[in-house]
Point group: C2
């Protein structure tokens, strides 16, 4: 079996997950089977394989693929301070009341670290800590292999195949991360709050295009109504990609669960619209496309770079350095090589 992209040279084979972290190796099919039966340790292990870009990933993903497509993936984004964690926890509670199994990926787009956030995860779980139908995991987005675009869709795939009905992907809206999370989600929920500076100024242009659902949290504070009015006016002026769906703007007080049932209702309404309109498959195809492309480009880059001296790329680069050819012609030669 060819090792997948991202595998270090000399890594363990793909047939087991390896004895990392002091645990005995579990064969991949067994691990996938246990995760599908709801074993949280196996789910956690599979997500660690994703984060580590394990050589076993290829086999993991092949094993998971037939079981994917059930979960509704909801992206939750908003500026720091709007109450994302509180809102996520309130949504989890409501979804559990409705009997749904819920997975949460809390993606920190600024952190290069991951996996070690277990204590934080436990603290975050709060009321859900003893509920085996809730799985919460913090992930770092800026890891070794291209961040959100690389690890998050694969972690979503793990939770989907493990039978979670809803996967909440929570990320702080800084830089491009809210656009990235929208690209990964079936439904994007944008959180705002009063007192975060002028409502629409704070609402960077990007969020007007990406939200399927807008929630003004901290609705018991002064200015929540104004944030909603400003947002409504701004949305009316925005040329959105899906004219057929008019995103609702809801008010919540997530700390006491106020308005949360209405948010869950709106999520379900959007899900129905996604399925009926065919938009769900279009979005998932777009997401898969980004995933396939990222894997293919990473693999090509590794192939070209090689670990050995004297790769074709090195030869071509030497010819460019000596002025014997130009970079475009060299790129042509690289792409035309049948060994690629």
């Amino acid at each position: 079996m060819t090792p997948p992209s991202g595998s270090p040279a000399g890594a363990t084979t793909g047939s087991t997950t390896g004895p990392s972290r002091g645990r005995a190796a579990v064969p991949v099919p067994e691990l996938v089977e246990r995760a599908r039966r709801g074993d949280p340790r196996s789910v956690a292990r599979l997500i660690s394989l994703v984060e580590d870009a394990s050589p076993a990933l290829r086999e993991v993903m092949a094993g998971l693929a037939p079981h994917t497509g059930h979960a509704l993936v909801v992206g939750i984004t908003g500026a720091p301070g709007v109450g994302k964690s509180t809102s996520t926890n309130a949504l989890v509670a409501r979804l559990r009341e409705a009997g749904r199994r819920v997975g949460v990926l809390a993606v920190d787009p600024s952190s290069p670290f991951s996996g070690g956030a277990l204590l934080g995860d436990r603290v975050r779980m709060g009321d859900h800590a003893t509920d085996s139908d809730v799985f919460i995991r913090s992930m770092a987005a800026r890891g070794h292999l291209g961040g959100l675009a690389w690890t998050t869709p694969q972690a979503i795939r793990v939770l989907d195949a493990a039978g979670f009905d809803v996967v909440l992907v929570e990320t702080v809206g800084v830089g491009q991360s809210e656009v990235e999370v929208a690209a990964l989600a079936d439904t994007t929920l944008v959180l705002l709050a009063p007192g975060m500076g002028d409502g629409i100024q704070a609402a960077k242009a990007g969020i007007l295009e990406i939200g399927d659902l807008y929630v003004v949290n901290k609705a018991d504070r002064d200015g929540a109504g104004q944030v909603r009015r400003d947002l409504r006016n701004a949305l009316a002026l925005t040329d959105r990609p899906d004219a057929a769906w008019r995103p609702p703007i809801l008010l919540t007080t997530a700390h006491d669960g106020g308005g949360i049932p209405e948010v869950v209702d709106a999520l379900e309404e959007h899900q129905t619209w996604l399925r009926d309109s065919g938009e769900l498959l279009r979005r998932r195809t777009r997401r898969a496309r980004g995933e396939v492309e990222a894997i293919a480009l990473t693999r090509l880059r590794e192939r070209w770079s090689g670990l050995r001296e004297g790769s074709e790329l090195d030869d071509l680069a030497g010819r460019v350095a000596r002025g014997e050819t130009d970079p475009y012609a060299a790129a042509d030669a690289l792409l035309d090589d049948p060994s690629d």
Copy 2:
């Protein structure tokens, strides 16, 4: 002729530079010839083609390649406030005294804008404004096609082929930009100054590996000697890639030219070492490698994405979205397609 990567659909052909900016089209070979004869307008035009990712670039680069390899490329980096512009201007003056033709690329890694900085360029040129053997150009690094890694090496190539003896690439040391500029340069000059916070704290770990030459500017201020001592101690503890070259640490007062002749001497000493040791060709090969790879990956991404519906990537993504295959197998299929 196939348009190069980055060309917009329906762009003008590659055989002329197009009538952009209201000027009549000049055939590429003529433009290259004029630039090589030292016409600054033609040099500026070629760099604009680089920044615009013009379809003519492929032909431009093929025309330039045989004339490249002469210029010494010096990267100049340092934190905001250390005196990069002043130092660059002082170096230009000294190099001109020695009869060298000098090109300067001032790369702003944070700006998405470029080309329009002409007034700024003229102000910057100062004493050199009427000197046709000095060419100064501001460039934005975070443009459409991957920043420094994409446009800067091609702009260096233009100046090199146009017969400049030295190309100074000045960039502010924020984020990864100082590591990026080191990857593009034959010689990397790291600027420091006293009063920028603790000398070594300010000297982020990265700069200890990348400098071929360290310059403590503002040497007339308190603390310059301490910055030099701290830096020397830190360098002694650093495991540098080229153990055969011990980077000197020089003191300057760039505003009055103090110490600048010694910096130019050190640059020439490093250049001699680069040539004698074979390191020059190694560095240029590494630089060309990054360039070729960036062009190839961009072209592949465009090819896969296609502007048309129903590309192979779309088909594969649809299969992944429906759970019929997994992303790794889809990436394999994409890479194995003979049409790629």
